[in-house]
Symmetry: C2
Subunit: 604 residues, 2 copies
């Protein structure tokens, strides 16, 4: 890789010049903001992609991040690249052949929507420091006004990453009836203290720049370009990860690119930062940077779990959250807090931590596109299926790539038996749900609520493809996301033997569910005993090539062990179904000898 | 916690005033630096604690970090606090009743040792930009000159954290015969790209400050205090962790302290940063900041594993490395790289990742003091025992707190059997060595080299207390730290059954050792079979209260399973010892039935 290649990033394609295809909605004022400020007039710059359906039920609103704009995608081959071209376009995950996509520049920004560098119609001069402070709520409100002006009362979905994710949260609680589903990516309920601290240092660099002139620099020869560039350099560090920075810059660590700059260019990463800082000041306004980061930093969707849950309760949409493992600007624990709140508030929610070493920027990059794109695409598709009954393409869609006709189902005696134990209409949580086969059968039977928990990223994606609600969690960490008695049945199907924290998981199951259904291989089964008699450890894992040293099974128990465990813990066994999966029969007598799999229904 | 409490930190106790007890060594020049620069004169400011022994064999040199100085500890109750008072003092981990401790201000600093704000004797004015660039090597050389002037040819130990750790590395390779042991804490072979990037932004803030005047600000009314304060704010963020920042500032997030500052004080973390930035400029010189961070950033002890190993090979000391799990300025993977190199270079090395949520600063804080202090204290003590044969306190030390007489040993038939299988004088690696009992017996038998691997932090500490070389690793991650054929024997004693990655670990054992010795519970043992016959899973874990759901055992195998596995993998079983640990006897016939533990010697 040459040093020059390092400078390409999704961001560096943006120039300062005006974009084609930008439309503008003007709202006469005065517009009163939640901060108490008043705007004499509001202008919102936006772009649209695709066609609004006759029922106006295919609109998808995309929120950009801090330094983005309305140009989410290129409109044609001649057009400038968009910041999310990977995701948005004809035939892409957010398919503009099917959806009507809208993206607007944020209030307080500097790319066409009213902000500090707009002309104040009252004075004929740029607002500068007279631009009032704004909140994320005000940004959301301005885009709500835009939608109403377009005659769109309800969105199929909102998608937002980073700052866009905060806006999505706020929208969900503020305009609950106006959106069917929200996908919030690489975001959190509020900035971490660390992220806040970086914003503060960035703002200090801007306001300390002697060319800032207290924000009144528009009529000066020079603006606070040094301070803004330093702010941007800092931002860039937080968008990348340790790993991605090492990968990008370590090979040519000491080779800085020659640049016309007053900043340090000794190291490759130094010249990269100097370059990015310099480019940014050409297209971004320092007052906008201050206004937007202050709005971002003041945003607080809930400092405590209770506040988060109460905000989440106001929402009425389905939620999709995704975070990236190496994102340290919005670390995964923040997404988990949101997911926990959604679960507590009994919202339909899916969640995935996407393994990535690309840091916060991962949501804009190609590396993990199949996963985050797949999640978003499937989420949209299933919203469409569920929420657009009069859409003529519905039947067609059922047969398209996201909804291929299912293969003939393998007979699964254990699933049949579990299904027989679960009364219709009950709420069911399936722990270790895999690719969602049991959940799908429950869903088709019309259960009130079926939710899955799965640890493997790709299996979570498969569940979301099926339109299931699934949350990525490691059972060994416990299930504090779920409330007491939140489900009627909690199922642990052939998963007990793979869990290290058996006591914790079973305790959690009976906290969350009225009944727990547990199926596990019975080590007492005559074939297993015979294997040991003949000198071999029992082979409870039937997969070919899998044996003692490479099985996922780490717990070995007999039916009696389980019964004693339940007695010891004070769990009642209400029902017990013994299966001989080899013969495909239910076992009536001498369960310990004759059953290779036991299903037990537990309660307290 | 009040907002005010938040401002206390180990650093904030330092004032700008001159310290008592500081001595100065003056070396007439010219002193030629490795960078090509020349100093007309070199002055080194230092402090000492305790008494140098008659044999001059108890000297411990401590290196300070970026913004520290010679005042590592208070000299008495009236004295200013030192930056490592927790660790250094009479009766403390670095016991100044036993050791003669020396700490000097670094070259290029601004606390008494020659630096940019010193008077250049050639001009009678402060150096300013005329101060030549320096390297970490130059810093090390200046302290070597100090030691020689004190008549100390060999140090018992060097201790350094952060920048001090880099200096310790450099010393180890540059003056190998002059030090018996080096403890390098929270450090790495070079800055990560991310850490480098933060330094670059910090320097850009300083050099862009209009009051910097290209470094010639000493005769001006004002210096680059804004730029330096911004640099310091950034530094503070990197010294803390996500968790520690949230803990410190989240409760009063929006309550900034009123300060006389031009910086933002809206948020509690903002006023903290403004306060720390403001305090720092009172006591630190911007040119020193530039000089030292440039030396730090240019330092590269090895970009590749080969270079690292070749540097490590030059050293002749024992090494102790410790890192902190939440340190993101010097992440644990960097310490691991150093440890890998030390192992590859066949150096005596111990290593521990200390679990902490305090970030980089953890090495200066009380939270994890028992662990890092314990490691350093034990390391020093054992160096003393091994390396000070004519020390009159040696016998006394053998009985003191770090070397209590061992309790009568429990009979361990399996250990006896393993010892009988290991010829004297061979090199032995013990995987999952626990608190080091087997290693200790091997060491006492005078083996050429015995090394342990253990995953539990507290067990690693126990091994270091015993003077053993132990490296903290999770076996499931593999053993790439070790070279092919580095040991004669690799032992895995009653640990196989707790490992998920059995294939990987056994493969690694036979890559690293000529022979592998593996002991494991044999599931075919008649008592285990009987247990299963009677309806219960075999209880291979003998600890009381431990059973199928809470044992650490996750792999179950019989002797035959193991033999088949070895055949399948092409491992030869050279010896096999079958034990009945219940009767305490070696089993002669029908091993599968009669042995509860099997020990096998494997080779390729």
């Amino acid at each position: 890789m040459s040093t020059n290649d390092l400078f390409d990033s999704s961001d560096s394609v943006r120039s300062g010049r005006p974009l084609a295809h930008v439309k503008t909605a003007v709202f006469p004022g005065p517009v009163t903001l939640t901060t108490g400020g008043v705007l004499p007039e509001l202008q919102v710059a936006y772009e649209t992609y695709g066609e609004l359906s006759p029922h106006k039920d295919n609109a998808v609103l995309i929120f950009h991040a801090l330094s983005g704009d309305s140009h989410v995608a290129a409109h044609d081959d001649q057009d400038d690249p968009g910041w999310w071209d990977l995701l948005v376009g004809p035939g892409k995950y957010v398919d503009t052949n099917r959806y009507f996509v809208i993206c607007a520049n944020v209030l307080g920004g500097c790319r066409g929507t009213t902000g500090p560098d707009s002309i104040n119609p009252k004075t004929g001069h740029k607002y500068g420091v007279d631009f009032p402070p704004i909140s994320v709520t005000d940004i959301v409100d301005s885009q709500r006004m835009l939608l109403q002006s377009l005659g769109i009362e309800r969105l199929l979905a909102i998608i937002g990453g980073s700052l866009g994710g905060l806006m999505a949260l706020e929208w969900g609680a503020r305009y609950p009836e106006s959106v069917a589903g929200i996908a919030a990516i690489a975001t959190g309920a509020r900035m971490t203290t660390q992220a806040l601290a970086f914003d503060i240092v960035a703002r200090n660099a801007i306001i300390s720049d002697p060319n800032f002139h207290g924000g009144q620099y528009y009529d000066k020869a020079e603006g606070p370009s040094v301070g803004l560039a330093i702010a941007r350099m800092l931002g860039h560090i937080t968008y990348l990860s340790q790993e991605s920075m090492n990968r990008k810059f370590n090979a040519n660590r000491n080779v800085g690119r020659k640049l016309d700059t007053t900043f340090e260019t000794k190291f490759s990463v130094g010249s990269y930062l100097a370059y990015q800082g310099g480019k940014f000041v050409e297209r971004f306004d320092a007052n906008s940077y201050l206004t937007l980061t202050l709005a971002l930093d003041a945003f607080d969707w809930g400092a405590t779990r209770e506040l988060l849950v109460s905000n989440m309760r106001r929402s009425m949409c389905r939620w999709l959250f995704a975070s990236f493992s190496s994102d340290w600007l919005f670390p995964t624990f923040q997404a988990r807090e949101l997911v926990d709140a959604a679960i507590k508030a009994d919202k339909r929610v899916s969640y995935c931590t996407i393994k990535s070493d690309c840091g916060h920027d991962a949501f804009l990059l190609e590396n993990e596109l199949p996963t985050y794109g797949g999640l978003i695409g499937s989420f949209l598709h299933n919203l469409s299926l569920d929420w657009r009954p009069h859409d003529s393409e519905r039947r067609q869609m059922l047969n398209d790539s996201y909804g291929k006709p299912s293969k003939p189902r393998k007979v699964r005696l254990d699933y049949d038996s579990i299904l027989a134990l679960v009364p219709p209409m009950t709420k069911v949580l399936d722990l270790g749900c895999g690719k969602g086969d049991l959940l799908m059968r429950l869903k088709e039977r019309g259960h009130e609520r079926v939710v899955g928990v799965e640890v493997e990223e790709q299996l979570v994606l498969k569940c979301v493809e099926k339109g299931l609600d699934v949350v990525q969690l490691d059972l060994n960490d416990g299930l504090r996301s779920f409330s007491d008695h939140q489900f009627d049945f909690v199922v642990l199907s052939k998963t007990l033997q793979t869990i290290r924290n058996v006591e914790l998981v079973l305790n959690e199951m009976l906290r969350i569910g009225t009944r727990a259904i547990v199926s596990f291989p019975n080590l007492g089964y005559k074939k297993y005993r015979k294997q040991l008699q003949e000198g071999h450890a029992p082979q409870t894992d039937p997969r070919p090539g899998v044996t003692w040293y490479n099985t996922n099974d780490v717990r070995f128990l007999t039916l009696s062990d389980f019964e004693e465990f339940c007695e010891h813990k004070g769990y009642k066994i209400f029902r017990k179904v013994a299966l001989d999966a080899e013969t495909g029969e239910i076992v009536d007598d001498n369960h310990t000898d004759n059953a290779d799999v036991v299903i037990a229904v537990l309660g307290r």
